[in-house]
Symmetry: C2
Amino acid sequence: MATAEEMGKKQRSISVSEFFEKNRHLLGYDNKAKAMLIIVKEAVDNSLDACEEAGILPEIYIGIKQLSEEKYQIITRDNGPGIVREQVPKIFGSLLYGSKFHRLKQTRGQQGLGISCAVLYAQLTTGTPTSVKTSTGDGKTHSYQIRIDVAKNKPIIMETSIDEDGEQWHGVETMFTVEATYRENKQSVIEYIKQTAISNPYADIIFDSPNGRVEFKRGVSRLPPEPKEIMPHLEGVELGVLMRMLENTTARTVHSFLTSEFSRVGKQSANEIMLNAGLTKDINGQEVPDTKYKPSRVSDDQARNIIEAIKKVKLMRPPTDCLSPLGSELIESGLMKELNPEFTAAITRSPDVYRGWPFQIEVGLAFGGSIQGHNLLRFANRVPLLYQGGVCAITKAVNETDWKRYGIDMNKGNIEEPLIVFVHIASVWVPFTSESKEAIANYDVIVKEIKLAFQECARKLSAYLSGKRKSAMLSKKRSIFERYAGETASAISLITGIQKSEIKQMIMDLIDNKWEELNGDSVGEVEGENQEDGSGSSESDSDEEESEY
Amino acid sequence: MATAEEMGKKQRSISVSEFFEKNRHLLGYDNKAKAMLIIVKEAVDNSLDACEEAGILPEIYIGIKQLSEEKYQIITRDNGPGIVREQVPKIFGSLLYGSKFHRLKQTRGQQGLGISCAVLYAQLTTGTPTSVKTSTGDGKTHSYQIRIDVAKNKPIIMETSIDEDGEQWHGVETMFTVEATYRENKQSVIEYIKQTAISNPYADIIFDSPNGRVEFKRGVSRLPPEPKEIMPHLEGVELGVLMRMLENTTARTVHSFLTSEFSRVGKQSANEIMLNAGLTKDINGQEVPDTKYKPSRVSDDQARNIIEAIKKVKLMRPPTDCLSPLGSELIESGLMKELNPEFTAAITRSPDVYRGWPFQIEVGLAFGGSIQGHNLLRFANRVPLLYQGGVCAITKAVNETDWKRYGIDMNKGNIEEPLIVFVHIASVWVPFTSESKEAIANYDVIVKEIKLAFQECARKLSAYLSGKRKSAMLSKKRSIFERYAGETASAISLITGIQKSEIKQMIMDLIDNKWEELNGDSVGEVEGENQEDGSGSSESDSDEEESEY
C-alpha cells in the first residue's frame, strides 16, 4: 500500500499537448473522416481571419491528395498577410498560443488550439512533421517542417529554409500528412467549403479534391466591415478577473482604471461605482468618490464591493461596432450563388448581450428552385458548424419555432417544402459547448434572439408563399373559366345572335385584362388571413417581440 | 488594416488556467447549483482515491455552510494518507498537475484538473483563497491558503503554518468559499453522496448539509482489491506516441523496449514484430530479428513499420488485474443498504478492451421494496455520474435493450416497475465526452458490453419476477378454492353424513399440504416459457452472446 511520500513522488505536471493528445476527441478528432474536416477547417478559418484582418479579398486553395488507403496530404494556401518568421514555430508548434484568446474581437479562431492540434494529430498518426511556407511580401519565403515536443508543448523545427530570390507573394501555405478518410457527405470537407462559400461570398475558393477540382467563385467583391476589438464590459467581469486586472493595471487611479479598461464606463459611471463601493473621501462632511484612490490600495473586500456596486449602477450596453454581421445582402447573395433557390430572404437582428459579451443573430431563408428538402445551416463568426447539431442552441431555436404559423411545414420527412434555413451568430466570444467548436451553448438570451430572427424572416417568406399560392389559385380559376368559355359563347350567341367566335374572343380579353380587378377581393382576403397568422408588420419594435415569450 | 508584423506582436501564449477560467463550463461550471456539486465531487473523489491507494477504510466528512444568499463554505475531510508538504501547493494551485494522468491505473481522478479548477472557481467567484490542511501522521499539521496565479498557472501561497504539537492524524481537509446554490434534487450534492455510498459501501460518510446532518454508514468493512498499474498495450499505441517512447526509453535494445515497456509482449512476440518490421539481420542467409538493434537507430519509417507489424502479430489481451470491479456482493450490499429493495441482482462481466485499454462492466438491479419508479444510476470508476445522461453510452445501452423480453416494462411514465438500474464501468482510462467527466463516449465495444451485462442481470430479475408472478397466481387460485370450500363441505356432508366442519378442515389441510404438488405442472410451464424468452442459461459463453448482435 502506498504512503503519502510514495504518492508524492508520482505527482508531476501534465503538458497541455499531452492532455489534448490523449483527449483528442475533445477537439473533435473522434474518427478519421472528421479528422480530415477539422484540419481543413482550422487552416481555412485561420486564412480567412488573416485576410480579413489585413483587408485582403481572400483567395483560398485547398488540395487533398490520397497517399495510401487511409493516409492523405492536405494542402492549404492563402493570399493573406503571411506570418512573421519568429512566430511560425510557436503558432504551429505549441498548443494554447495565438493572438485571439486575449482579445475581445469577432474572429473565427478564439482558443489558440486549432492549428497546433492539427500538427499534433499529423505527428501522432503518421509521424510526419507539418510543412509551413510563408511570406509577408518582402520577396523572402520562409519554409519550416514543424513537430511538437509533446512533453514540453514546444515546437521542434525540423527544417528551415529561406528563399530570398523567391517570387513576390504574401500568404501562408500548409501541408499536413495525416491518417484520415475522405468522404463527400453532409459532414464533409466539400460541405464545409460549400457552406463557407455561402457565409463568405467575398472569398474565392479552389478545392482540388481526390475526385477532381471544384471552384467556388466569389459573388461580391467587397469585404464586410472589419470588426473592432473592444474592452470587456463590467457586466460580464467576475471578481477574480477584476482583482487580477487591478493588480496588473498601469492606470494610476481606480477611477481611470474603470474608465480606460472597460467599455462604456464614463467618468460619471466610475464616480457612481466608487461611491457605491465606498472608495470615497470626505469633503466638507460630504462623501465623494476618491478619484485619486490607487488600484494597489484596493483590498479584496473593496474589490468585492466594486462588483456589488456594478450591479447597482446602470451602465450603457457594450458597443456593437465590434460585431461584423454579414448583412442581408451578403447572406442572400451567398444563398443565391450556391443554392440557386427561387426565393431568398434574410435579416440581421440588432446586437444583444450575454455575460457582458455582445452578439448578433442573422437568419436567411432560401426557398424552392434547385433546393430539395429541408436543411439547417449553422454558422458562428462565418464558420459553418457541421457536427453536434443536436445540442446546439440554433437547433433548439428551430425546433421551438412555430413554423406553421408562417405557412411553412418543417416536419421531418415532409419533402414538400424545399427550404434552407441559414443562421449566423456573430460574437466577440462565441460560447461553444466544447473545444471542438461544433455547437452553441444554450444561453436563453441567444435562443430567444434566434427565434425572433426566425419570426422576422419567416414573415417575408410567408408573404411570398401566400402570393405564390394566391397566383396558383387564380390560375386554377382561370383555367376553369377558359374551359367553359366555348359553351358560354355558344349560349350567348344563341340569345344575342352575335357570332360565337366574336363572343369567345370578348370573354378571353375580359379574362386577360380584368382578371386582377375582378379577383381583387380574394387577394385582399388571402393577405388578411396571413396578417392574422404572421402577427403583423415585420418592423414591430422589440418590446412587442419580447412579449411573445 | 493590420500587417503581418502588427499581428505578430499580438501573438502570445495562453496559460491553461486562463483557458479553463474563460471556458469553465467545459469542466461543468455551467451554473451555481452544479458548481456546488462539482467541488464536493472533486474533493471526495480525491479522498477516496487516496484512502484506497493507502489501503485505508475511508471516513469522509463533508460540510456545507451558507454564508450569504449565494455564498457557501464547502469543507471536506478524509482519513487518507495525507499529502507531503511540498506537493500541496502544486496539486491545489496549478491546473494539469497530478499523479494519475501518466499512469494506467483505475482511479477516480485522471486529468489533474479537478481540484485545482475548484480552487480557480473559488477565487474567480469570491476572491477567496482555498484553505488546505494536511498531515501524513507524523504529528505535524501543515496549513495553507492557496490561490492560483492565472497568467502563469502557478500556485500563490497566501499563508502557511506548521503545527508540530498537533494531534496524531493523517488526511486532508479542504475549505472552499464559493458562489453557489444548494439544492436537494436528482443532480445535487445529497444525491451524489447517496450514490457514492452505494458504489463505495466500505466508506463512512458524514454530511453536514445546510438542512442538518446525514450519515451514511459503511455496509462492509473491507476494501475491494487495490487495482494494479499496467503498462500500455501495443494495440492502443499510436505512431507518434511510439516514436516518443523510442526516443525516451532507457531500454538498450528495441527488443527489450518492446518486452519491458508494454504489457503482454513476450520475447517471441517481440521477435515476430521485429521480423515483420524488417528490424533484422542475416545469419547464414536467414533473416532473423536483430535483437541488439538500438532504439536510437529506429528511423521514422521503421517506427511506421513497427506499427504495421503490430497489426499482424497476435498479442495477448492486456492483463485485467489492473481493474478492480466492485463485485456483485458489494453492489448488492450497496443497493440493499441505501435503497431497501425487495430483490437485488448484480453481475460483473469479464474485462474487455477498447483502444488497447481494459475496461469492465458491472450491472446491478434493485427491485421493489422502498423503490418507487425507474431510475438509472451511472458510475465510472465508482464515481456517480449525475449530468449529461442523454449523451452517455450507458443510457444508449439501456435504451437499446429489449427489457420486455425479461418481463420488465421500462417505458417512461410507467410506474408499475419499481426498478433501479446500476451500471458501473471500471477502466484504466475512462473515455469521457468532456473534461467535466459526466458521460461515457459511445465506443461500440463499451455499449455492447453494457447490453450483455443487462441481459445477464435481467435474466436473474426475470426469474424472480416470474416466480413472484407464479406465486401471485397460485394464491389467487387458492383464495378461489377456499371461497368454495364451505359449499363443497356442505355438499359432501349431505352425501357422506360426515360433519361439515370436519370435511371443511380436510379440504383446508389438502390446500395447505398438497398445493405445491397439485400445481406442479403449472410451475414447470411458467419456467419453460421464461426459458424461451431469456435465451437459456446465464452462463452462456461469449461466442453465443456476441451472436445476439
